[in-house]
Symmetry: C2
Subunit: 351 residues, 2 copies
């Protein structure tokens, strides 16, 4: 058996086109299936908290995870002031590699895909934590990720009406435009408190890198499910500590969430349930219509593993096969030096 040394490449515009062709509802459905499959076999994965390099303006992280056959990692940054230079706050790419050989099989954009997989992970949690009759959701923070959250909850969970609030009215107008074009009903509010009143689910997805208090105890109503997406970094939280104390809290991977999630405000022994335990049937999700549940989402490497698997299979299905030479193709793998010895001068583009 001779393995190929080329790596499939899925660029940002390519993945946008692939998702556009597949359609968002089908994309959300399939990605949810992949992610639930992977979370149910959680103990099979080699997991670790991501490594983070913090700087004045933001953070750069590497998120690896592996099982017996596939290794995945994501590179992702978080720079809240990036819009000032025309760049996204969160940018990402990732690789899927063969554990048996270490060969990187797929290199893909993950900026768009991170927004998709974060929204799908939120729905995966809400399916076991929100009241089954949920029809309204407040969306606090109407930035780059908000359409994905709104549409994933609309298509996968039956959310009919979104209550919108953002400190920047232009962000809300942009979100309304995209949602109305897809037939989703929205209501605009003048404050977060007004937006959450009476809703079934509250999603917070704000970008400021501060200990903010988007949601206070007075705003929480019996039976609410809170999907806390934006508090995902040391020093960056959205929920008042008392909101967490009076709810049942669910997390992706406790060692990482205790550092990065909203529960960073609470002692290390604050009781939480890992979501995979609910999905695998080892722990209960919501147990009554009155209880308040919180998904303290920070994003975990396994979600990117699922997303990369999904993209790999979608590319096959759509006949997409662009390849790049990340790794040298060698006639004799023990003779790496030939790559230099046989190199011919390139013709310079503009000599």
């Amino acid at each position: 058996v001779i393995a190929t040394a080329s790596t499939q490449f899925l660029g940002a515009e390519r993945v946008g086109a692939m998702i556009g062709r597949a359609g968002l509802p089908a994309t959300f459905h399939t990605l949810l299936r992949y992610m639930e499959e992977d979370f149910r076999r959680w103990p099979e994965f080699d997991k670790s908290a991501r490594t983070a390099a913090h700087s004045r303006d933001g953070v750069i992280e590497l998120m690896p995870v592996a099982d017996d056959s596939l290794y995945a990692f994501k590179y992702v940054n978080g720079h809240p002031r990036n819009h000032r230079v025309g760049l996204s706050t969160v940018m990402a790419f990732g690789v899927l590699a063969d554990v048996a050989t270490g060969m990187p099989q797929l290199l893909s954009e993950l900026t768009l895909t991170t927004a998709l997989r974060t929204a799908v992970a939120s729905v995966m949690a809400a399916r076991v934590l929100a009241r089954p009759d949920s029809r309204t959701m407040a969306l606090i923070g109407n930035g780059a990720q908000s359409e994905f959250q709104a549409l994933a909850f609309h298509h996968l969970l039956g959310i009919e009406t979104l209550h919108l609030y953002d400190i920047d009215p232009a962000a809300t107008r942009k979100l309304e435009g995209h949602l109305h074009a897809r037939g989703v009903k929205t209501l605009r509010f003048a404050s977060a408190a007004d937006a959450v009143r009476g809703v079934d689910i509250v999603t917070t997805v704000t970008a400021d890198k501060t200990n903010a208090t988007i949601l206070t105890p007075a705003m929480v109503e019996p039976g609410m499910h809170i999907n806390g997406v934006g508090g995902d970094c040391p020093g960056k939280t959205e929920l008042h500590a008392d909101v967490l104390r009076s709810a049942r809290v669910f997390v992706e991977y406790a060692p990482q969430t205790r550092v990065e999630g909203d529960i960073q405000q609470l002692p290390a022994d604050f009781p939480v349930t890992e979501l995979w335990q609910v999905l695998a049937g080892h722990a209960a999700g919501r147990v009554s219509p009155e209880e308040v549940t919180v998904f303290d989402s920070v994003g975990f490497a396994l979600e990117d593993y699922s997303a990369l698997r999904f993209l790999r299979d979608l590319a096959v299905e759509q006949g997409v096969d662009e390849r790049i030479s990340l790794i040298p193709a060698l006639d004799d793998p023990k003779d790496l030096f030939r790559l230099v010895a046989c190199a011919q001068p390139l013709v310079r583009a503009a000599a």
Copy 2:
């Protein structure tokens, strides 16, 4: 200021051609200068031991490092049996990113480049650890990295004659072919003990993932410098523990080398000197013609940082500028959804 969202891409054959055009001696010289600059400002870097995912057949590692302006990471595997499927034992690629925004500026092959930078790091150590009159070097292990070690020591340190030994005679013949074509003298030996007799420097660069004993105390002579390259993974060593005990041992980054290097055989308080301290003038290198010195090399992220900086600048110098869309180019960075909303179906290659 608007930042660009495209990433420069340097593939494996491209880098081979760039190095071929620049020439190996000039490449070694310039890369050594970059690496010494970076090691001398060691305290400015945010360092961590690499993350490793071990499996039955090998290991996959991520190696990040950053200073105030640049973030670098390398993906690298080690799979000793890979030649059975036509792949290299060690394959790598890496990224250089802007700390201020998180934008990945350069994605490059690092398989060839890892061999280059490992050889240059070996010379960087030998320049302060080997006797200045060194003219002969034994090279135990004649695999994919051996030409680079031999030629870096030849061009940068004045090594005139290489003593070769490998358990696989075909590997030695391949190495001889490349070295003779470049006018470097070699002698072939029937054992490692014969090869090291009387030489100034011993380089061990074997690939077996076992606790091997390539070099025993009886083989070590006064004044030798030992460049231990192949022992770089838990359970993978090359030097007998007594060789280390009777020498002064230098390492790249002690927290990582104590886990991965030959000193994994010794207690956690075994005295070692970090190489940067010698380069920055804080510690002595070789202090007498008789002492035995060991560079217990495992490879550190900062060497890849230097190599990526070097490749970035060499590409500019040679007018190479291929770019890929790892990150989406957005008119409005807060409107990621447009990437999906505006996606047009692709024309399928073979529909």
